[in-house]
């Protein structure tokens, strides 16, 4: 167990290093930040001077080494666009993204699993058919469109919910939360639904197909043959066996929800990391982009690690294999 953990941590570090390097070698293609920083009237000499000040004249390898050397010490420099420390920018936007992602996943799991079970157990009922058709729409509807539709209905037509922003945010230490004010909670609803739609439909379809498969398994047939009540067979034996792969997928999806909340954050002007990243890309704000990509890679790696550990806990077979 410990050996596996150590091996995985070393692997994770290699992944982080690789992500950082790939990111850095791509930065030269997004354009020169200096042109955005100095405006059109600047002379070529002023541009060269700025490039020199920022160390952009150095080779990619030198810039990368410098970045890694400082990142190890927890330093990520200053944003080219805002002239503020990157750490501050991330600390301001991370809570927004984490709160949104957390509630989106809760909603997706909370609705996705019951719906998945329902459509598996009562395959041919009308309700199941309607739900499955609905999930097809959910999985094919672009996030951007879903967000705008929700805004049009609930903000513009009905005027119930805000169309942008995070409402009133209260500081709890460095964590700015929107959960302690009514306006913050209201502002959370539409982005959460938008972000959850795709994940939910994914979970519905996953749970359904897993459950259908498990229901065909021999041990279920034996359980039925023993004359156990159908409820007990479904929820006592079939469901737990269905959930093992579901947990893996949900864990990994949480990572991608955090990383790819970009579209939802843009539609709702949700002041999270995705929005910060998009702004940084348009400005070629290299320090912010580098820190963001590294952080996202870190989140993925950590979640992946946790899911793997969880697998060992849930599945006794893996434990015994590791023991052998």
């Amino acid at each position: 167990m410990l050996g596996m953990l150590l091996r995985r941590i070393v692997e994770s570090l290699i992944v982080l290093f690789a992500v950082a390097f790939i990111a850095f070698s791509l930065f030269s293609f997004i354009g020169d930040p200096v042109n955005n920083m100095l405006g059109q009237e600047a002379t070529e000499a002023e541009r060269l001077d700025m490039r020199e000040r920022l160390g952009l004249n150095d080779s990619v390898i030198v810039q990368f080494t410098r970045f890694i050397g400082r990142a190890v010490q927890g330093e990520f420099g200053v944003s080219y666009r805002q002239s503020r420390p990157v750490i501050d920018l991330i600390a301001e936007s991370l809570p927004a993204t984490l709160e949104l992602s957390f509630f989106a996943m809760v909603l997706a799991v909370g609705l996705g699993i019951p719906i998945g079970i329902q459509t598996a157990i009562n395959r041919d009922s009308l309700v199941s058919k309607v739900l499955m058709t609905g999930s097809l729409i959910g999985i094919s509807l672009p996030t951007f469109l879903a967000g705008i539709l929700l805004i049009m209905i609930f903000s513009v037509k009905l005027g119930w919910l805000p169309s942008f922003g995070r409402g009133q945010v209260e500081q709890m230490g460095w964590w700015g939360t929107g959960l302690r004010t009514w306006s913050g909670i209201k502002a959370l609803i539409l982005p959460t639904i938008t972000l959850a739609i795709f994940q939910m439909t994914l979970i519905v379809r996953l749970v359904r197909s897993e459950m259908l498969e498990v229901l065909q398994a021999d041990f279920i047939k034996f359980a039925r043959a023993r004359g156990l009540r159908e409820r007990l067979v479904q929820f006592g034996y079939a469901l737990p066996n269905t959930l093992v792969p579901v947990i893996t997928i949900v864990g990994l999806q949480l990572g991608s929800v955090i990383a790819f909340a970009i579209v939802t954050e843009t539609v709702f002007q949700w002041p999270g990391m995705g929005l910060l990243f998009i702004q940084s890309v348009t400005f070629a704000d290299v320090p912010v982009m580098a820190a963001y990509l590294l952080l996202i890679a870190l989140i993925f790696v950590v979640i992946n690690l946790l899911v793997d550990m969880l697998y060992y806990v849930i599945d006794p077979r893996l434990r015994s294999m590791a023991g052998l």
Binding site: L54, T181, W182
Partner: protein
Amino acid sequence: MKKLYLSACTSVLMLFTGASAGAAELRVAYKADPASLDSSANWDANTIRFVLNFYDPLLDYDGKDFIPVLAESWEQVEPTRWRFQLRKGVRFHDGRDFGADDAMFSVMRATEPSSRAKSVVRGVTGVEKIDDHTFDIITDIPRPFLINMLDRLPMLSKSWAEENNALAPADVGKEQSNAALVEENGTGPFILERRDPGRQTTAVRNPDYWNAANVKSNIDRVTLVPISSDASRVAALLSGEVDLIVPAPMQDVARLETGSDTTVWKGQEARGVFLGFDATSDNLGKDASRGPNPFKDVRVRTAVYQAIDADAINRVVMRGNGSVANMIVPPGVIGYDPERPRLPYDPAKARELLAEAGYPDGFKAPMECSNDRDIGDAATCEAVAAMLARAGIQIDLQSRPSTQFLSALLGGGASFYRFSWGNNGWAASNTMSDLAGCKPEGQRGFAISGYCNPELDELVKQINSESDVAVRDELTKKAWDILDAERLFVPLHYPPIFFASTKAVDDVEVNSDGSLRWAGVSKAD
């Protein structure tokens, strides 16, 4: 749980009281949040103009004349010395008096190595104090146009900057950060209440504003939020969550104009949109493998000019809201000549010229274009490509975000491009030297044509140091004649500006730089 409930109740209460007291509160959604509150550290149009709601410049330009703001008068006492008489009795927001020390400090602050606003004070070698409200700016050579730039330079308090470690603009290279980026202490009509960068900024009216008598606006509080997505910004307006959006996306203007709850405010931007060429390189993209550069021939450049129906572009792409440009500089700029004619749209003539230049069957060429820099930029390029296709020129269009686009232009590989140029110090001579002056090889900057004519450079030099307006106009005319003969540029249009508001907003001044001065807005109670 109980605590949560209580705080929820109080915030609902706050919402109500906020709404009833906000009779003259203005809520504005901008496309982008200003990068900081220190324009010398972030020299982009958005930040420059945003900041001028908190700070005042020495003087302003109203499209015809320079008008006094914090400077009451100014004169060129010697060829290389400008003297400014400052307004008395002006106070900064924290109560400090404004005087010559502050003005001198603010000018020199823009010359600091870490400043990104060096272009404003180019040629300034020093300042000299005459008395508490008089000071001189000394320049390297005679610079009659020095004052033209000062309408964008905010006046900071020297002692405040000292106390807040903001004497020089924050140096990104040294990873500095300072108070001037997130706080302000200006003399302007609004006082910053709270700034949450990237999320929300609130400001209140300055009760002791020195020029309050001339501010007609009834706005005493503004809330500013950035909403970058066009569709979401419009939705925020339609839902009444904001009163004003800056700018309104062009594709929604027709709908907002006819909407019963919304008003569209239009203006014309002091910016010229044009097509340009690399007129000197032998090969396309300076790359021998891509073949010879047809734009080297003035007949080809003229053919492109005459093959393009600028009127149709303005009518269709700009939906008739811009105006067709006769020059690359916009009206309002010193040296703009409304009488200077465009070459007529004449596709037959264009084909003839192409044949004469040795391209009877046309040719293929790449075109560089931005897709997020100006209103309708990518659509304009598509229209241009379609029009040129009819003349036989096959355009390989490269539409990219402006960061990449600018890198392509400045990287020197562009042979044909669409670009726009704002007014630079309200002087056409600046535009001429920026876009067509002689530059050392490899340092062309935006003078992409590579054109170099010592005669033109000499004229620009004379214009820049000539104080007699009549002589200056004559020299400017000569310079334009030289440039027109070369057809380095195809002027297209002066783009429109759109803001949109709810019906509650009575008046919005639309500035020719596309910015919003909050003091220029009035709202019904």
